[in-house]
């Protein structure tokens, strides 16, 4: 089968690519664009490690073909913080609250959190747990992650950065 030419807008950068039509978005992000911050934990849509935001919505990038993301705006973990040393408030909260152990689930968790807070700047604990239940973590038991989300929600509301 012939390759398909697509344009991916990732973290504000435009990439023109010719990809095999069966390749998933996560494979193209990792292998072709070297954006390895997006992780693969299962490739069956069950773990959330590969979560990215497409036009603002959280998506399991292992369940989406790269061609389906043609011309869409994709945000990966690499695009979340602006400067070299600067962390996004969500990342900062994850660091400070001890929400990161092995870190393999972290990029997906952070992006799921971003999506949640974009939709709902003041979530309850139950809403946070529900929103993150598509993201598996085997290390933390989720408590510090939930705490981090609670803390950053408060902070972002106070800073008026709820976007």
């Amino acid at each position: 089968m012939d390759k398909v030419c697509i344009t991916l807008n990732v973290n504000g950068d435009r990439y023109e690519l010719a990809v095999d039509p069966w390749r998933t978005l996560v494979e193209v992000l990792r292998d072709d664009l070297n954006l390895t911050g997006t992780k693969i934990g299962c490739q069956t849509g069950d773990c959330g490690a590969c979560t990215v935001l497409i036009d603002g919505k959280s998506v399991a990038s292992c369940m989406m073909l790269a061609v389906a993301a043609d011309n869409k705006n994709i945000a990966t973990i690499e695009g979340l913080s602006t400067g070299q040393d600067e962390l996004h408030p969500i990342q900062e909260a994850f660091v400070e609250q001890g929400a990161i152990q092995c870190g393999y689930c972290t990029p997906g968790m952070v992006l799921s959190t971003k999506y949640l807070l974009d939709q709902n700047p003041d979530p309850t604990e139950t809403e946070i747990r529900q929103a993150l239940s598509g993201n598996l973590c085997r290390c933390t038991g989720y408590h510090r992650i939930v705490k981090a989300v609670e803390a950053v929600a408060v902070k972002m509301r106070a800073d008026g950065k709820g976007e």
Partner: protein, 763 residues
């Protein structure tokens, strides 16, 4: 033991992990994230049959596929077996690629290297293997039945499928039983579960032109991988450089040489190109190690007043097709059977049994979750039958500091009694256990765990842990350690210990870890909750040497009387009684370098436990209470709250300890309620996270905890383990709470709604 007299400024603080920012930004490189120029992509072919002779393997079609660079099968290898029990070579029963026989669905048969992953995957499908099937066994009973096929018939010393026995005899068990007022015997079956670490195993190997290899692999034990790769490839150890990148969790599942490590190495040597393998999740579930399923029988004897007088404990471990870490699990299961309470008379018989299933290895708790599920459940049953409160019964028999199990264990600190009191108080235990709303239950489970093993079955010639510290004139220092941080946080904790003892800010310490040719290589890796204690002690050995060197400089400079103690704090080195007499850490280093005519200030530290019994230098203890609600119609268990009081000695980083506790509860809940392999004829049927259910954020209960601080004399600054032990008590505590709510005592984990409904007559 070195101990800084200055107040604990760094140790005891909830310092965020050093590696948290790099992980939060997606910049942390895990093995599967790495790529090298010219790299080939690898894929394994695993056996599709549970037990068979290999009649013929034809790789010609795979080799002919454009883009395939090499295909290897067993006969292309030196054919050398491996295993972690090097001290007993007969236990090393596994080949990196099968030669004439396969023993489980998942045994490695061939491997391919190609220019893309798609081509490698396609080539695997072109390899033809003709098997002559052999009869297979999948349960302990069938494996031990008369006429069962011998799974390792090549080992002429074995006459059945038991690969190894272990026994412990303390006192006179039979005589004690004869004097008992109350005897209780139970048999339980505890099931196999997956580590389910989020990062599937991966390896990348780069060869140099002289045949030396650099290996980045997702391992907990770089030194063990180095040794076993060298022996299976038949090359010198020093030709193998194993580097640990960031690791996405291990929990015991990444502590051995695995076939893909070997195949990537051999393929790299043969092709002269870098080779990378990344497993899929399906492969992980099919061929990854798992926790041992066990059948355990326990008979305990009490006096009327609840005093324990004897225990007779026997375990059969379902080992799968190879020994893997089974010998250690067999040993430890018996040791843990004797823990927590004083059993003046104790007998253990452990048997490691081969079956035609994926091998079980080490998994968080390593023999203890199984042993203590039964021990703790039995304690709760006995309490009920003796009419004594379960916490009272435990208090009556609890191990305390100074207890000794002759020839096995010596307890140098124990906060168990305090933990029991504390958890009772935290949960309002007495009242709730006596009266609770319908369908609600409260239950208890306790644990003890080792802080590293004193045994040397790997037969290392080196120290158990080692490190190097370099100090610089700019007031900074560099810690080079072989400790392998796999997500548990050892890099952070070791830096805290070092900073505390040298009076430095942790941020002034650069850390390089786990590279067998660059850091001191003596280290057995991350398992058995050994790192904080052993590597922490190695760091303190080095800081002590560093302090001695720098103290000389300050004494000289200020002409200090010999009786002066020199202290290290706030980046300064000074006379403790006259703090003005002192200089900065960097100035002290400069003086030392000048005094030594340009030498660099480098010290090494080591730790090896000696003369500390047969098991561990130190033991953690704790008690946990679970509160549940069981839906009487559906049998669904909702765990509402889990409360824990535990003793891990000095808490070096409260945030890290809390994280271990919460993660352990999650894993314990999965073990108790929802995780299990579904197997048919040796095949693992549930190979996705959809079918193998691990607890998600919304499944977690409320969590309360209290740390009971003790000072462990064998531990660094008084610390002991907090990693694995906490994974033990949740299953027995939840099980007891389910009994309290429904009357159903689970002796066949996991506790499923179906089992509850059957027991309550609803099904």
């Amino acid at each position: 033991m070195s101990q800084n007299n200055s107040a604990m400024k760094v140790v005891g603080q909830s310092i965020p992990r050093i590696d948290a920012p790099i992980k939060a930004t997606g910049k942390a490189r895990y093995t599967g994230d790495m790529k090298l120029p010219g790299m080939l992509y690898g894929k394994m072919l695993f056996s599709s049959v549970p037990h068979a002779s290999i009649v013929r393997i034809d790789v010609s079609k795979a080799l002919a596929l454009p883009g395939v660079k090499d295909v290897i099968v067993g006969k292309d290898t030196p054919g050398i077996k491996f295993g972690n029990w090097r001290l007993f070579p007969a236990t090393q029963d596994e080949l990196p690629l099968a030669i004439d026989k396969v023993r489980f669905i998942g045994d490695a048969v061939a491997a391919v290297a190609a220019i893309s992953q798609d081509i490698a995957d396609e080539a695997i499908g072109l390899i033809e293997v003709e098997y002559a099937p052999l009869p297979a066994v999948y349960t302990i009973e069938d494996s031990l039945a008369a006429g069962a096929p011998l799974i390792h018939d090549e080992n002429k010393e074995l006459t059945n499928n038991i690969s190894l026995d272990r026994k412990i005899d303390v006192g006179d068990v039979d005589a004690a039983f004869a004097t008992a007022d109350y005897v209780r015997e139970d048999t339980v079956f505890v099931h196999a579960v997956s580590h389910a670490y989020m990062e599937p195993c991966a390896v990348l190997v780069e060869p140099d032109t002289e045949g030396r290899l650099t290996i980045w692999t997702s391992t907990q034990t770089p030194y063990i991988v180095q040794c076993l790769l060298a022996s299976t490839l038949a090359i010198p150890e020093n030709h193998v450089r194993v580097v640990k990148p960031y690791i996405g969790g291990g929990f015991g599942g990444k502590m051995e040489l695995r076939p893909w490590d070997f195949c990537a190495s051999l393929l790299a040597r043969r092709t002269g190109r870098p080779v990378r393998f990344v497993l899929t999740r399906v492969e992980e579930f099919e061929v990854g190690r798992r926790r041992h399923g066990m059948k355990i029988r326990s008979k305990v004897a009490f006096k009327k007043d609840g005093t324990l007088i004897a225990k007779d404990f026997e375990a059969y471990l379902d080992g799968g097709a190879y020994n893997s870490m089974g010998p250690t699990a067999t040993f430890l299961c018996g040791n843990f059977g004797a823990m927590l309470y004083r059993y003046p008379n104790y007998r253990y018989r452990g048997h490691h049994v081969y079956t035609n299933k994926p091998p079980a290895g080490a998994m968080r708790g390593f023999g203890a979750p199984q042993a203590l599920y039964l021990s703790e459940t039995q304690m709760n049953i006995a309490a009920e039958e003796l009419g004594i409160d379960p916490i009272e019964l435990r208090l009556k028999n609890a191990m305390v500091t100074g207890d000794v199990i002759e020839g096995v264990t010596r307890i140098s600190s124990a906060g168990f009694v305090e933990s029991l009191h504390k958890v009772a108080e935290m949960t309002n235990w007495k009242e709730k256990r006596a009266s609770l709303a319908p369908n609600k239950g409260i239950g208890i489970g306790c644990y003890s765990f080792i802080s590293g093993g004193v045994f040397n079955w790997f037969n290392t010639q080196y120290n158990f842990a080692s490190c190097e510290i370099r100090a610089y004139s700019d007031g900074t220092a560099h810690l080079l350690t072989m400790a392998a941080d796999i997500g548990q946080g050892s890099d952070t904790v070791l830096r805290q210990i070092m900073a505390q003892d040298l009076g430095l800010d942790p941020e002034q310490i650069r850390l390089t870890a786990a590279d067998v040719t660059m850091t001191p290589k003596a280290d057995l890796g991350t398992w058995g909750s050994r790192v904080t204690l052993m590597n922490g002690n190695a760091v303190l050995d080095a800081t002590q040497k560093m302090r001695a060197e720098l103290a000389k400089m300050v004494s000289l400079r200020f002409n200090l009387n010999v009786i002066h103690e020199v202290a290290f704090a706030d980046g300064r080195v000074f006379a403790k009684a006259q703090p003005a007499k002192g200089i900065s850490f960097g100035e002290a280093v400069t003086m030392w370098v000048k005094a030594n005519r340009g030498e660099e200030l480098v010290v090494r530290g080591h730790y090896t436990p000696r003369d500390l019994g047969l098991t561990s230098p130190a033991y953690s203890f704790g008690a946990q209470v679970a509160e549940v609600e069981v839906d009487p119609e559906t049998g669904v268990v909702t765990v509402e709250k889990v409360s824990t009081a535990h003793d891990c000695g000095t808490v070096i980083n409260p945030l890290a300890v809390e994280g271990q506790l919460e993660g352990a509860i999650q894993m314990g809940l999965g073990y108790a309620l929802c995780e299990q392999f579904v197997m048919r004829d040796g095949k693992t049927l549930n190979t996705t996270f959809l079918d193998y259910k691990v607890p998600a954020a919304e499944d977690m209960p409320a969590i309360a905890s209290a740390a009971i601080e003790t000072y462990e004399p064998q531990g660094p600054l008084g610390a002991k383990e907090a990693g694995e032990g906490l994974a033990i008590p949740t299953a027995p505590a939840v099980s007891d709470a389910v009994w309290h709510a429904t009357g159903y005592r689970c002796k066949d984990l996991p506790i499923t709604p179906e089992k509850i409904l059957r027991a309550t007559g609803k099904l």
